[in-house]
Structure formats: structure tokens, C-alpha cells
């Protein structure tokens, strides 16, 4: 099981450092390779160098925000799954994200178990 998962790379983008740190710790337990970023610009630059299977991004960030990350990722790599987490959950952003083919949408506070389950679903679908 762990060997199987080891092949998967997960990217986490959130300007709250703790979100990245905690998710990374928990997901690495499951055998995923995890990289964390504090802003969209650095994350998108890294995406050009390295293939990731799943991108988990915060919606509201200074500069390049979650919605822009979603659009760019789907444009460049349509098969990469994007999961969005946000402190500003409202219907408009949810609809916009769904139109942008988001895989899942979590309001904060995030349940790590649900996040893991969502990542697993994303990987088994691909």
C-alpha cells in the first residue's frame, strides 16, 4: 500500500504556514511526497519543474489566489486534481470553483481525515 502511494506527489499551498506543516506531516504518514508553499507564485513556478498528482490550495491569498491556481493548473495539466480549502466559503466561490473543474471544496476548519479521503478518491479516479 505504502509503495503504491509513494509514487504520488501532493502540493499544498496556504499562506498559513501551520496548514502546510500539519497537512504535510499527516500526509507523509500515508506515504505521499508532500511539498508546501506559502503563495501561489512559488507554487506555480514549482509546478512547471515537477509533476504533482494533487494540488491542495487555499482560496484567499495575496497575489496569485486559489482560483488563479485552479485555472492555471487546469490549463497546463488538465488531469491534475485540485482541492480547494477556504476560510471564506460562500456559494459564489463554490460555483466558480466547480465551473473550473475543482475536485473538492473544503471550508476551514479542515478535517484532515476528510482531506485524506478526498485525495484518495482523486487518485483512484485518475
Amino acid at each position: 500500500m505504502e509503495d503504491y502511494m509513494n509514487n504520488y506527489r501532493i502540493m499544498i499551498i496556504d499562506d498559513e504556514k501551520i496548514v502546510g506543516d500539519m497537512a504535510k506531516m499527516s500526509l507523509e504518514q500515508e506515504g505521499y511526497a508532500v511539498e508546501t508553499f506559502l503563495n501561489g507564485e512559488a507554487a506555480l513556478a514549482r509546478l512547471l519543474e515537477q509533476k504533482f498528482e494533487v494540488v491542495v490550495t487555499d482560496l484567499k491569498m495575496k497575489g496569485v489566489d486559489g482560483m488563479e491556481v485552479l485555472r492555471t493548473v487546469k490549463q497546463l495539466y488538465p488531469d491534475v486534481k485540485v482541492i480547494m480549502i477556504t476560510a471564506f466559503a460562500n456559494l459564489d466561490t463554490a460555483i466558480e470553483a466547480l465551473r473550473g473543474d475543482v475536485h473538492d471544496f473544503f471550508p476551514k476548519p479542515v478535517k484532515i481525515k476528510e482531506l485524506k479521503a478526498s485525495i484518495q478518491r482523486a487518485l483512484s479516479n485518475s
Partner: protein
């Protein structure tokens, strides 16, 4: 003294004068009546004296002795008249004249008696008879004439007294009513001046001594109105603050989500990883939780500071600190509306003497208005600098929003004036205006439709003594 009492007093004074004049006129009329009654009696007397003398003359010419009886009869009638009308005569001509008259009559009567007794006509006696008769008639004529003249004197003096009294009453009435009306006008002008100054917005408590008249009542009423207004103004500031708080709370609630999420994720990871964590790592986890709760505490503290009703508390303050504090409170609203900010705060500005939270409230109002007028992605400019005279600090809040139509600009600080329709209470700017004026500052607005609106606040620099 009250205006009412003044009017009553002046009327009483005039009525008193009129009564006095009337009293004197009645006195004169009474006297005149007495004199006239005497004149009537005197006319009767004179008539009988005249008859006496005619009979006396006939007696002397014809020497008929029985004519003396007729004279005697007339003398008795006159004597009776004198006795019966004695009181009236004394009142009119005095006792001396009355007694003289009586004695003249007596002498005449004595001479007539003597003539009756003497058996023959005597030239000497006839001469005495004639002399006494003449004396009686002359005396009686004289006092009658004197009394007639007296009546005339009374009439002309009454006329004079009445004339002068009327002149005096007229003068008094004119002067007193002029004085009273001047007095009343003075009070009214005071009230008018006060009303004008209030209508110019100069609504202040009247500190000077309050006079004991209607003007004083008006002043007292204005003072109590001022107190009422001050109280309701304070209530208005507080209620507006709570409305701003509603706007802030929406933003702050979102702001709380991040530290809450962090704590939740730390807890979840901690539980999951518990067995794999060393002691130092566990403590590190808990430290992180502690730090996040500090963050939450800070957010809540800012909100509570803002919402607490406070007595205005003036403190020497650096305006840039207040600007930063405001931006921190508003950051979420700016983020949610996707409004960028461009700041230009001149450092090391002289301090201003302000109630930090009231100024913060004004800034929250201005920024909220700016954000609501702007579309997503626009920029809000904020700046501080030293005022042109060097004795004030200037704050600018400049949006790139819809702008305010020129015809609305003069009303922008009026209470209940709003361009936001049902969404606005129309109190934000009016309360802001009140706060800035209380700080002896000034707030101005410039706006161009489609370009944006700039609010400029000037606050006086605090000069420590």
C-alpha cells in the same frame, strides 16, 4: 422681572394716574356745586334785599308807615332763609362773611324797628335806613360777586388741571410704554440673536447668568435642549459604532477562521501522530496552539476595544498608529472586496490630541464607504502628512469609486442623508463630522462622478504646554 409683570406694572401706573386726575376733578366739581348752591341762595337773598330797598324807597317818598311792616316782613323772610341755609352759606363763604351778613341784616332790621317806633318821619333816621340798606345790599352783592368769580376760577383751574393731567398722563404713558417695550425688545433681540446663532449651527450651552424673565426661560430651555442633544449625540455615536461593528464583525469572523483552523489541524495531527512524537515535539505542538489562541485573543481585543461605549478620552497620539490599527481591523473587508491599498504615511508627524477610538470609528466609516463604492480590483489610497500651515495633521482617504454627484455634496454630512438607499442609515458621515468637529478639526469632501471621492480630515497638532 418677567415681561408680564412689567406690562401689568406699567398699566397699573397709568390707571393710577387716571384715578388721581379723576379724584381731583371730582373734588373740584363738589366745591363748584357748593358754591353754585350758595350763589342760588344769594340770588334769592339779593332779590329780597332789592325788594326791601324798593319798599324802603317808597316809604321815604310816600311816608306811608305801613310800608315799614312790609320791609320788616321781608327782613324776617331773609333772616329765616339765612338761618335755614346757614350751613351751605358758611361752607361757601366762610363763617366771618356769614356773621357779617347777619349783622348787616340785624343793623338794617334795628333801624327799621326804630323807624317804626318813632312817631314821625325823621330825615336822619331815613338817611340811616338808606345807609344800612345800601350797606346790606352792597355787602351781599360783593360776596355774591366774589362767589361767582370763585366758581369761574374753579372752572378754569379745573380745566387747567385736567389739561396738564392729560399731558402728564400722555407723557408718562409714552415714556413708560417706550421703556417697557424697549425692555421687552431687548429681551426679544437677545432671543433672536441666540436663535440666529443656533440656526448657524453654533449650538452651545449658555454659560452667562440667566435673567429672571421670559428670556431666561428661553435660555433655560435652550440649555436643557443642549443637554438632551448632547446625550442623544453620544447615543448616536455609540449606535453608529455598533453598526460599524456589524461590518467589522463580518470581516473579523472570517479572520478568526484561520487561527481556529490552525488549532483544529494541530489537534488532529497531534492525535494522529501522538505515538511518533517525542516530548520536545509534543511541546512544540502545544506552543503552536498557544500562539494561535494569542492571535484569536488579539482579534477579539481589537473588536471589544472598538465596541465599548467610552467617555471621550483625549490622548496625545501618533496618527499613523491609528491609521495602521484601522487598516488591521479593515484588512479582511478589503480582502473580501478585493480592494488593494496604497499607503503614503509621512513618518514622524507631530502628535494630535484625540480619542483614538472615535477617530478610528471615523476612519472605519470612510473606508467602509470607499470600499462599498468601488468595484473589485480597484485601489484605495490613504495618506497622512503635515498640514500646509504646519499646525495640523492631514489625513486623506481617496477612493477610485463611483463618486458623488455634485448636487449631493452639500448634504453629505447631514444626518439621515444617504446615497446607499436602504442599505445606509445616513448617519455614518454625520457622526464622523460630529466627532471631527469635537476634536476642533475639519473634514472635507471632494468628488467627481466616475473618478472617485476624497475625504480630507485635518486635526490640530497637539502643543504641550
Amino acid at each position: 422681572m418677567k415681561i408680564e409683570s412689567k406690562i401689568i406694572l406699567s398699566n397699573a401706573f397709568n390707571i393710577g394716574l387716571i384715578l388721581l386726575v379723576g379724584f381731583f376733578a371730582i373734588q373740584d366739581l363738589n366745591l363748584m356745586q357748593t358754591k353754585l348752591r350758595f350763589v342760588e341762595i344769594a340770588d334769592d337773598l339779593n332779590a329780597s334785599f332789592l325788594e326791601m330797598r324798593i319798599i324802603e324807597k317808597n316809604y321815604i317818598i310816600y311816608q306811608k308807615r305801613d310800608l315799614l311792616f312790609d320791609v320788616k316782613e321781608k327782613i324776617d323772610t331773609a333772616g329765616q332763609l339765612l338761618d335755614s341755609a346757614g350751613k351751605d352759606i358758611i361752607r361757601a363763604v366762610g363763617e366771618n362773611n356769614f356773621v357779617s351778613l347777619q349783622s348787616h341784616l340785624k343793623h338794617y332790621s334795628d333801624v327799621v324797628d326804630e323807624a317804626q317806633k318813632s312817631s314821625h318821619s325823621d330825615i336822619d333816621l331815613n338817611n340811616r335806613l338808606r345807609t344800612e340798606g345800601k350797606k346790606l345790599r352792597e355787602f351781599s352783592n360783593t360776596i355774591t360777586w366774589l362767589e361767582r368769580r370763585g366758581v369761574n376760577d374753579i372752572i378754569s383751574s379745573s380745566k387747567r388741571v385736567l389739561f396738564y393731567s392729560f399731558v402728564a398722563i400722555l407723557i408718562c404713558a409714552v415714556f413708560v410704554s417706550h421703556f417697557i417695550s424697549q425692555n421687552i425688545l431687548l429681551s426679544l433681540r437677545g432671543i433672536e440673536k441666540l436663535a440666529k446663532s443656533i440656526s448657524k449651527g453654533n449650538f452651545k450651552k449658555i454659560e452667562s447668568a440667566i435673567p429672571d424673565d421670559e428670556f431666561g426661560s428661553v435660555m433655560a430651555a435652550i440649555n436643557s435642549m443642549y443637554e438632551e442633544q448632547k446625550n442623544s449625540e453620544e447615543a448616536l455615536i455609540q449606535s453608529k459604532k455598533l453598526a460599524s461593528l456589524g461590518i467589522l464583525t463580518a470581516g473579523v469572523a472570517h479572520e478568526l477562521t484561520n487561527p481556529l483552523n490552525n488549532i483544529s489541524m494541530i489537534a488532529q495531527t497531534y492525535a494522529e501522530m501522538y505515538d511518533n512524537l517525542g516530548k520536545a515535539q509534543r511541546i512544540e505542538f502545544m506552543d503552536k496552539v498557544e500562539k494561535e489562541t494569542e492571535r484569536i485573543k488579539e482579534i477579539i481585543k481589537n473588536l471589544l476595544d472598538f465596541s465599548k461605549p467610552k467617555e471621550a478620552h483625549l490622548k496625545e497620539t501618533d496618527i499613523n498608529t491609528v491609521m495602521q490599527k484601522t487598516l488591521k481591523l479593515m484588512q479582511n473587508m478589503l480582502d473580501v472586496s478585493n480592494i488593494k491599498t496604497k499607503l503614503n504615511f509621512v513618518p514622524d508627524l507631530p502628535p494630535v490630541l484625540i480619542d483614538e477610538y472615535q477617530i478610528l470609528q471615523v476612519l472605519v466609516n470612510l473606508i467602509t464607504n470607499a470600499v462599498q463604492s468601488m468595484q473589485s480590483g480597484r485601489t484605495l489610497f490613504m495618506a497622512t502628512r503635515l498640514g500646509s500651515g504646519g499646525d495640523s495633521v492631514e489625513i486623506k482617504v481617496m477612493d477610485t469609486g463611483k463618486g458623488i454627484p455634485r448636487e449631493y455634496l452639500p448634504h453629505i454630512f447631514d444626518p439621515f442623508f444617504s446615497t446607499k438607499g436602504d442599505e445606509g442609515t445616513g448617519l455614518g458621515l454625520s457622526v464622523s463630522y460630529g466627532i471631527i468637529k469635537k476634536h476642533n478639526g475639519d473634514i472635507r469632501v471632494e468628488s467627481k462622478v466616475g473618478v472617485g471621492t476624497t475625504f480630507t480630515i485635518e486635526l490640530p497638532v497637539y502643543k504641550s504646554k
